[in-house]
């Protein structure tokens, strides 16, 4: 975690630093004697960068201290479990992003059907009846409540997918 923490706080410092750099333009604008639009974000970003830098230094110090004490042994089981968790989270994130990106092309209904099925698989669901019935049921309920009753204009998709979506909403 120490290595991850160092990377995370280094990224924070870089992000806040970049935004702070962008703020200098805002500070130059505005009328003299008035508080312009740059002061408030400048204060927020400067403090954020400073605190992130402090956390980065603290993380590096901790890492050096831990290295001096020698590495703790990690069992193969714990390693495998950690790897499994990482793979599942990564796939969950990729799945969710794909759902969002694909929706405008294939429409809300098909995207949701596919997403529920794939996401359940990623989470470890293997019961066939759950994988077969739930996506259809869930999509139908969501469509009924949000597209029919509340009339949210969900993306319909393009071409043949739009034709398909128009059958339902």
């Amino acid at each position: 975690m120490k290595k991850g923490e160092i990377v995370f706080f280094a990224a924070c410092v870089a992000f806040f630093g970049f935004m702070l750099f962008e703020t200098f333009d805002l500070l130059r604008q505005g009328r003299p004697g008035e508080v312009g639009s740059g002061l408030w974000p400048f204060m927020a970003l400067a403090v954020s960068m400073l605190l992130s830098a402090l956390m980065l230094i603290a993380s590096i110090q901790k890492s050096i201290k831990a290295a001096g004490q020698g590495a703790q042994e990690v069992t193969a089981e714990a390693n495998a479990e950690k790897k499994r968790a990482r793979v599942t989270v990564t796939l969950s994130i990729v799945c969710f992003l794909a759902y969002i990106l694909v929706m405008p092309w294939i429409g809300f209904i098909l995207a949701s059907l596919l997403y529920i099925f794939v996401f359940a698989l990623v989470l470890g669901e293997r019961r066939r009846w759950v994988l077969a019935i739930s996506p259809v049921l869930m999509t139908a309920v969501i469509m009924g409540v949000f597209a029919k009753f509340i009339t949210i204009p969900f993306p319909k998709g393009i071409g043949v997918f739009a034709e398909f979506s128009r059958l339902f909403y």
Binding site: V35, S37, A44, S48, Y115, I116, F119, L123, F154
Partner: protein, 497 residues
């Protein structure tokens, strides 16, 4: 005056008005609980139905939707960790944590009883002290608003868990996020990088759904496969009914929170979200019993937030009826309802249409009582969702989150922004950076900045204006105390290590 109340009671109890009250409340509960619709949207959707109704029936219906929406927002917050309403975010933090500890019914009871108590408290205050609250709210100028937001932000120490440094990083990040978009005073674009999506700023519902709900699903995805959502098990509502002694032991919170809610609700533009956060923060700051539980399932935090967000309804309605000012988005929609029926809310309303004003008072009182029963029905309905397979349940929550973000402006850019926030939220959780201060700052940041700059414009740049009134001095002193005191008490908190 008693005549007015009796007459109003007789009118509200007419069958068509009672039906409007039940339907309005049920619709409000549903709108509040579903992430895609806000309370204000719920009220707007009902507006078109009120054209054909008598004014009294129309207002009974709208009041039902308003109170139901504020109350219902917390059901999904506790059960699924999805805030139905922005004002339910503190409820997600504490209520959902209690539910995950295996006591959802207990959390739901605490929420329900506190909500109804807060709502009733504010209605009674509204009836008794309408003129007083209205005149107090008028004393708030930009310096007082700034002091109020600083007090709100100063509760970071209470929300930071073990490390105040990490809490402050989260808070200042939230303050930065609040500056993205078009500047409210000069009209300059800030950090939009020439994108249209960011011109209007970051909607905090989008940020909140990503930071809180979606990131939690990612965190839970790390756990080994489970057939059902084991964290939230329903043991029966009656068995988990909280004892009276529980509320008595948090007497100070039970007294203070509805007062905060009513007062903040009466401040124009503040509303239930700020009321809930301020009250929650105060509870976190002054907690004597188990302060370490804040952020991990503190009953006191849940009580404070729920009392305050429902109490804000009375405050908001007070200034709407007495001054014609909207205390929240939803009461702004109510102004439209008054206009539809040929009325103008404000000082003259009480003399020109006392039947409507007293009718609203009485219907708010009765709706709060009615909500006690209706919410239990709604809870039972939502609890059934817990029986779903966990994998499907998680997918459904993700889709609801997408709908929540998409439904704001009906565009996918908000959904992509929500996805970005979910990644940020995931990283923050992984590195123990509390999410609550970031959301608090995002909510309060805009008001803090604008009120500071307006104050300085008024004073010609002199910062002394910020301490020129007793109200702002008291509020700023409170803020200073709440930051300094925990540091003196626990200096290690500053280290964050």
């Amino acid at each position: 005056m008693l005549d007015h109340y009796l007459q109003a009671l007789a009118t509200v109890l007419l069958p068509q008005n009672l039906l409007a009250m039940v339907l309005g409340s049920l619709w409000g509960l549903l709108a509040g609980a579903l992430p895609g619709i806000s309370t204000s949207m719920g009220v707007v959707l009902l507006l078109s139905f009120t054209y054909s109704l008598s004014p009294m029936t129309a207002f009974v219906l709208l009041v039902g939707a308003y109170l139901g929406g504020i109350t219902g927002g917390s059901i999904t917050s506790i059960l699924f960790g999805i805030p139905g309403e922005p004002s339910s975010v503190p409820t997600v933090i504490e209520g959902h944590a209690i539910a995950k500890q295996g006591r959802p019914a207990f959390a739901l009871w605490v929420y329900l009883l506190c909500s109804i108590y807060g709502g009733l408290f504010s209605v009674i205050v509204m009836i008794v002290a309408t003129p007083l609250i209205a005149s107090f709210a008028l004393k708030f100028g930009p310096p007082e608003y700034f002091a109020l937001t600083v007090l709100g932000l100063s509760v970071v120490s209470g929300l930071s868990g073990g490390s105040m440094l990490k809490g402050f990083i989260s808070c200042f990040f939230g303050l930065f996020l609040a500056t993205i978009g078009t500047d409210g005073i000069t009209g300059e674009e800030r950090y939009t990088f020439d994108t249209v999506t960011l011109l209007g700023g970051i909607n905090f519902v989008v940020a909140m759904v990503g930071l809180l709900a979606v990131s939690e699903i990612f965190i839970e995805a790390e756990e080994p496969f489970k057939e059902y959502k084991g964290g939230v098990q329903y043991k029966g509502m009656l068995r988990e009914f909280p004892p009276f002694s529980l509320f008595r032991s948090y007497l100070l919170t039970m007294i203070r929170s509805p007062i905060i809610g009513t007062i903040v609700g009466a401040l124009p533009g503040a509303g239930a979200t700020i009321a809930a956060f301020l009250s929650y923060g105060e509870a976190a700051r002054t907690a004597k019993r188990e302060p370490e539980k804040f952020g991990k399932g503190a009953v006191e935090g849940l009580m404070a937030a729920e009392c305050a967000n429902n109490a804000s309804t009375g405050g908001s309605m007070t200034i709407l009826l007495s001054l014609g000012l909207p205390g929240s988005n939803t009461t702004a929609m109510m102004i439209a309802a008054f206009m539809i029926h040929g009325m103008q809310p404000g000082p003259l309303l009480l003399s020109t249409r006392p039947d409507i004003v007293y009718g609203i008072f009485v219907s708010m009182l009765l709706t709060n009582l009615l909500l006690l029963g209706l919410t239990i029905l709604a809870i039972r309905m939502f609890l059934e969702l817990n029986r779903m397979p966990y994998s499907i349940f998680s997918a459904a929550i993700m889709i609801l989150c997408v709908i929540g973000a998409y439904g704001l402006n009906n565009n996918m850019d908000d959904v992509l922004l929500m996805f970005a926030f979910s990644l940020i939220g995931y990283a923050m959780r992984k590195f123990d950076i509390p999410v609550a201060p970031c959301i608090l700052a995002l909510v309060l940041g805009d008001m803090a900045e604008l009120s500071l700059r307006r104050s300085l414009l008024l004073s010609g740049g002199s910062p002394l204006i910020l301490v020129s009134s007793p109200i702002s001095i008291v509020l700023l002193a409170g803020a200073l105390l709440s930051i300094v005191y925990p540091l003196i008490k626990k200096p290690k908190m500053l280290q964050g290590l």
